[in-house]
Amino acid sequence: MRRALAVLSCIALLATAAQAAEDLIKVGHTVSLTGGASMWGQSEKNALELLIGKINESGGVLGKKIVLISYDNRNDPVESVNVARRLINDGVVAVIGPAQSGNAIATAPILERAKIPMIVTTATNPYVTIDKDTGKVRPFAFRPCFIDPFQGTVAAQFAYTDLGAKKAAILYDVGSDYGQWLAKYFEEAFTAKGGEVVAKEAFRSEELDYRAQLGKIKGLSPDVLFLPTTQKEAAMAARQARDLGITATFLGTDNWGSPDLIDLGGSAIDGGYFVNLTDLSDPDIQDFVAEYRVVYGKDPVLPNPVMAGDAIYMLVDAIKRAGSTDGTALAKALEETRDLPVVSGKITVNPEDHNPLNKPAVIQKVDTKARAFVFVKKYEPGD
């Protein structure tokens, strides 16, 4: 017994061997490889490995090869914080990801303290790059995607103008930064256009039964039901809404776009619309999509791999211009990104809020029979 205890304690105290120092640039990647967002996450990782392979083949950056260190954050903010610490410990020069706003907001202070730049992929909440309490931009947080005020406005505009909706109801997750703010932005934009938000109902995270809330909504007969939620929650809400006899059109946001939305939602989600960052038919990304298909034998699960591609190109460009991998220098170089060709087109970073200027949004329609998301329309900022 004593010996067993002693041996166990020794094992527990052993440290993990330090990685042999090589001439490599380590890029960290915090990604959801398990959990509801795993289809995007896996595709993101594939895309990064593909693109980094290409960059390394043409000589790497500053004469060094890039190595990608990916850890699964399980789409959980606590695990994201752990992953961030582990990446800092591994000595990465920058971190790509997370893809979710909640995880990104949790990760940001950790990386900021360590002075390591963070380039999220699809985290769209404005407070990822702006600190909510001080109102100032976070010096080490960047993103290649649009932000939710724009997304909410696009959704509201589409609902009012294209769908002709006068009354809208909203059902959102009270525990999600993403959902809560999007609900707010949609409500503001829709009301400003002249529509009326007849109901704004919330559910707790991980809850799957919304029939009580939907029962209330049914009585108010909305034209559109706005669901700024994940794909599984949207699928559940759609099914339950149809079961209750609600005939409103469903409208969603970029978190709908995982292929399993159709598996989970079935006939109920057919004909729903949602905002997304990019679409498979987008001319700008065709080269990337073709390459991805060749290497992995299937389509990339948009939009994450495209955004991840944008992020890695932004990083590589910043390293070249800064001439070093020092965090503060990189952050400054990232701020000065101008008209950089990336996977989704060209990107210019706004130094005031670290968001990209002029990123468009697309509207997609769910087609259950074809098991696809069909492109409907594109919105440029300023429309």
Binding site: A212, A235, D243, G245
Partner: protein, 290 residues
């Protein structure tokens, strides 16, 4: 809206009741809370899902298969995790801990093997909804209600009329005397677990069809435990009543008060009830409650 909320509440409560019955059944015979029941329910759902998607069976067969699978799983659970402790006359605390361990183990085994993705059952009915007095009731709910009534009714009849049923009720009263009378208690307990597991598999499948199938779906059985406690642990009627009451009250609170704070109300009601009626509504009163 009142009627619609009531229908929704009955639908939610029905599932709670079905899960609570299995839980109370085991409690009545072994006097411990089988926290692994949630995992049986979850695995029943996965089995049903497998039958429906891989083999494309119709709902009736899927349900039957899930019930059989759930029953067998529960028997196995008892054999491996509890039998040894029972023979040793271990305190019920140990059985509870073992049950907790099983639950954590099974849930995470599914997580690491099958994965954490959410799955949906294929749609069984083309006509989804019927309207009744201006409110919508889903066809699936009606089917679930019919089938559950059938299952619970069959169970009740079995317990009341058949020889084995009488043996089970005798065991509930006094296990030692029962074995002195010549009943093989090991087989009796295994049979009870089989029944409870079958009900669990049924509940799991219905839950999976109504919502989704995922590894942590067993946690909803916390609600079932509460329902069983409200109704009185060990009483089957209590489990049903407790389940329905909990479902209806929850849904009304969700619709009329706050959907977010619903659980706070539910737990407050639970605690208030326990303080006033420490044995629940129909529970057997214990002499030594200390």
């Amino acid at each position: 809206m009142f009627l619609q909320t009531l229908f929704t509440g009955l639908s939610v409560g029905g599932i709670y009741a079905l899960m609570a019955v299995g839980y109370s059944l085991i409690f009545s015979i072994l006097n411990f809370s089988n926290f692994a029941h949630g995992s049986v329910i979850m695995l029943g759902a996965y089995m049903g899902l497998g039958l429906a998607s891989k083999f494309g069976l119709k709902l009736g067969f899927v349900v039957a298969g899930a019930m059989a699978g759930g029953g067998l799983l529960a028997v196995l659970n008892e054999r491996l995790a509890y039998r040894k402790l029972r023979h040793r006359n271990a305190p019920s605390l140990y059985l509870m801990i073992s049950a907790m361990g099983c639950s954590v183990f099974l849930e995470n085994m599914v997580y690491v093997t099958i994965g954490s993705r959410f799955y949906a059952f294929p749609e069984f009915f083309t006509r989804r909804v019927v309207t009744f007095l201006g409110s919508s009731v889903s066809v699936m709910d009606l089917f679930a209600l019919a089938f559950s009534l059938l299952a619970i009714g069959a169970l009740g009849l079995f317990l009341a009329r058949s020889r084995t049923g009488i043996a089970i009720r005798a065991g509930v009263c006094d296990m030692t005397m029962c074995s002195l009378m010549g009943v093989d208690t090991d087989r009796l307990v295994a049979l009870v677990f089989l029944l409870a597991g079958a009900l669990g598999g049924l509940a799991g499948t219905f839950m999976g069809v109504r919502y989704l199938v995922y590894p942590t779906m067993g946690w909803i059985t916390n609600k079932a435990y509460i329902a069983a406690v409200i109704g009185g642990l060990g009483s089957l009627l209590g489990a049903i009543v407790g389940g329905v009451i909990l479902g209806v009250v929850e849904t009304f609170i969700s619709a009329y008060v706050s959907s977010i704070l619903r659980d706070v109300f539910s737990f407050t009601i639970l605690i208030a009830l326990l303080v006033c009626m420490p044995n629940g509504l129909f529970g057997k009163s214990m002499e030594e409650r200390v």
